[in-house]
C-alpha cells in the first residue's frame, strides 16, 4: 500500500528527500492531499515496505514526519 508522509516545513520535506535519495528509496513529491492535515503544502508518497518504518528511520536523522495510509486518497 502507498503511504503519504507529511512534514512541518518545506525544509523538512527536502531533508527527507535527500535522505530517501541517499538510501535509494523510491518516492514522489506531491501537494499534500486536502483531507490530510499538515503544516506544509508538499508531501511525500512512497510504497510501504513490510517491517520498515520510514518515519522512524527519518526521525533517527532528525526529520519529523507523520505517516498516513493512502486508502482515503484518490489515486492519480
Amino acid at each position: 500500500m502507498k503511504q503519504i508522509l507529511v512534514f512541518e516545513s518545506t525544509h523538512a520535506v527536502l531533508k527527507a528527500e535527500k535522505w530517501l535519495k541517499a538510501n535509494s528509496v523510491p518516492y514522489e513529491i506531491l501537494p499534500t492531499p486536502r483531507h490530510i492535515s499538515s503544516d506544509c503544502g508538499m508531501a511525500i508518497r512512497l510504497e510501504q515496505t513490510e517491517g520498515v518504518s520510514i518515519p522512524d528511520l527519518l526521525l533517527q536523522s532528525g526529520i519529523k514526519a507523520a505517516m498516513h495510509p493512502q486508502e482515503n486518497c484518490c489515486e492519480f
Binding site: 512541518e8 516545513s9 518545506t10 525544509h11 523538512a12 520535506v13 527536502l14 531533508k15 528527500e17 535527500k18 513529491i29 506531491l30 501537494p31 499534500t32 503544516d39 506544509c40 503544502g41 508538499m42 532528525g62
Partner: protein, 382 residues
C-alpha cells in the same frame, strides 16, 4: 588621465567583478526555474525550493553548523543583526560589544538602549583594534544576555581571537554573536570551534555573491523571537506565524535570484578552495603593506585580512581618494567606513583613512601600481 581598466580596491564594501558562474547561476534560475519556492505544489516551485534547500545546506557546511534548518536567509548582515539583536534581547539585558564594531551592530544596539531595553557596554580595544580578553572577562554581569563581536575589521583587517572569546561566553552560557561580514569567504569559520551561537554574514563581499542576500546561522535551541511575520508557505491555515525553523525567521517570498547567486558563489569558492584564496589574498596584502610602509609620511593600519587603511601626513583622506580615482583609476574608500568607533580606537577619527581592500580579482601588478600612486601623491604633499 583616463583609465580603461580601473583598479578595484573596494572589495570590503562589495566584491567586484563577480565570478561568471554567479551571473550564470542567477540567469539560469530566472530562465529555467523562476517559481516561488515552497508555495505552490508544482514541479517548478519544488525545484525552486530544492535550490533554496541546497544553498542552506552549503551555508551550514561552510560554517560547521549541523542543522541547515538553522540557516536563515536575510537581505544582508545588517538585516541578520537586527533579527538577532531585536529577537534575542529581553528587557533588562546587559550587552557587551567592542569599540571596533560596524554601525550595523552599534546602531541597533544603541536603539535598544535608547528604548530602555538593554544596558550597553562597549569595551575598548588596543590601538591596533584587538579585543583584550581580560577586559572582556571583567565586564560580565549576572544579567549579561549577549556578547557581540566582529570577526574581522572592515577598517584595518584585524581579526579578533574569536575562539577564545567564544570560550569565555560559553563557560557562562551567554549567547555569542559574531559579525562575519568581512571574514566569510576570506577565512575559515567553524561555529563549533568558535563556540558561536549566532553568526551573521553577507553574501556580496568575500563570498562573491550578489547584493541583497545574507544570512543568520544559529547553533543550539535558543532562538530569536521573529522580528516580522507573514506568509511562509507552511501552516497556511493558521493565522499565527509558525515558530519552527527556518520559517520562524523568514516571512515573505525570499530573494530566490540572490540565493541562486549565492549558491553559485559557494560552489565557486569550493572549486577554487578557500585555502588558495587565503594564500593569494595574503600575498597581495603583505606586498601592499610592505610597499606603503616604505613611503615617507604614510601611516599604515593593517591586520590579517586583505583590508588595509592608510593616511598621508598633510593630506585629507578624501583628497587622496579623489586623486587616486581621477589620476590613477584606483577605487578606494575614504572616511569612516561606517565605523566611527573603530576610527576612534585607532586614533584616526574624525577624518578617517583611505582604505584599500583587495580580493580574488586583484593582481600583484595592481598592488605595485597602487603603491607607486600613493608614493607620487605623498611626494606632492605640502
Amino acid at each position: 588621465m583616463k583609465h580603461d581598466r580601473p583598479i578595484y580596491f573596494d572589495h570590503a564594501a562589495t566584491s567586484w567583478p563577480k565570478p561568471p558562474e554567479v551571473l550564470d547561476g542567477m540567469r539560469r534560475f530566472l530562465e529555467e526555474i523562476g517559481a516561488n519556492p515552497g508555495r505552490s505544489g508544482h514541479s517548478m516551485s519544488l525545484d525552486a525550493a530544492r535550490m533554496v534547500f541546497e544553498t542552506r545546506e552549503a551555508v551550514a557546511e561552510l560554517f560547521g553548523l549541523d542543522d541547515s534548518a538553522q540557516v536563515v536567509f536575510t537581505a544582508n548582515a545588517t538585516h541578520a543583526f537586527n533579527i538577532a539583536l531585536q529577537g534575542m534581547l529581553q528587557q533588562g539585558s546587559h550587552v557587551i560589544t567592542t569599540a571596533m564594531e560596524h554601525n550595523s551592530v552599534i546602531r541597533p544596539l544603541r536603539e535598544l538602549e535608547s528604548r530602555g531595553v538593554i544596558e550597553l557596554d562597549i569595551i575598548p580595544c588596543t590601538n591596533t583594534g584587538t579585543v583584550c580578553l581580560d577586559t572582556l572577562d571583567a565586564r560580565f554581569r549576572p544579567n549579561t544576555g549577549l556578547v557581540a563581536v566582529q570577526h574581522g575589521s572592515n577598517v584595518t583587517g584585524c581579526v579578533q581571537p574569536i575562539e577564545k572569546i567564544g570560550a569565555l561566553c560559553s563557560r557562562r552560557r551567554i549567547p555569542f554573536l559574531v559579525d562575519a561580514a568581512q571574514t566569510a569567504g576570506c577565512l575559515p569559520i567553524d561555529m563549533k570551534a568558535g563556540h558561536i551561537d549566532l553568526l551573521a554574514f553577507t553574501g556580496h563581499k568575500a563570498l562573491l555573491g550578489p547584493t541583497g542576500i545574507g544570512g543568520l546561522c544559529i547553533a543550539g535551541s535558543r532562538l530569536p523571537e521573529p522580528l516580522y511575520f507573514g506568509g511562509t508557505g507552511s501552516a497556511s491555515e493558521q493565522e499565527k506565524h509558525p515558530l519552527f525553523m527556518p520559517d520562524r525567521l523568514e516571512a515573505g517570498t525570499p530573494n530566490t535570484v540572490g540565493i541562486a547567486g549565492l549558491q553559485a558563489a559557494l560552489e565557486h569558492l569550493r572549486r577554487i578552495s578557500l585555502a588558495a584564496t587565503v594564500e593569494k589574498e595574503q600575498a597581495l596584502r603583505s606586498r601592499l603593506v610592505d610597499g606603503l610602509h616604505a613611503i615617507d609620511g604614510v601611516r599604515v593600519y593593517s591586520g590579517e585580512l586583505p583590508v588595509v587603511s592608510f593616511t598621508i601626513d598633510g593630506l585629507t583622506p578624501d583628497d587622496i581618494g579623489y586623486v587616486l580615482d581621477r589620476d590613477y583609476g584606483i577605487m578606494s574608500r575614504v572616511g569612516l567606513h561606517c565605523s566611527p568607533l573603530a576610527h576612534r580606537t585607532l586614533g584616526t577619527a574624525p577624518a578617517g583613512t583611505v582604505r584599500f581592500s583587495m580580493g580574488y580579482s586583484n593582481t600583484m601588478d595592481q598592488v605595485d601600481r597602487a603603491v607607486q600612486a600613493v608614493a607620487e601623491i605623498a611626494e606632492r604633499s605640502p
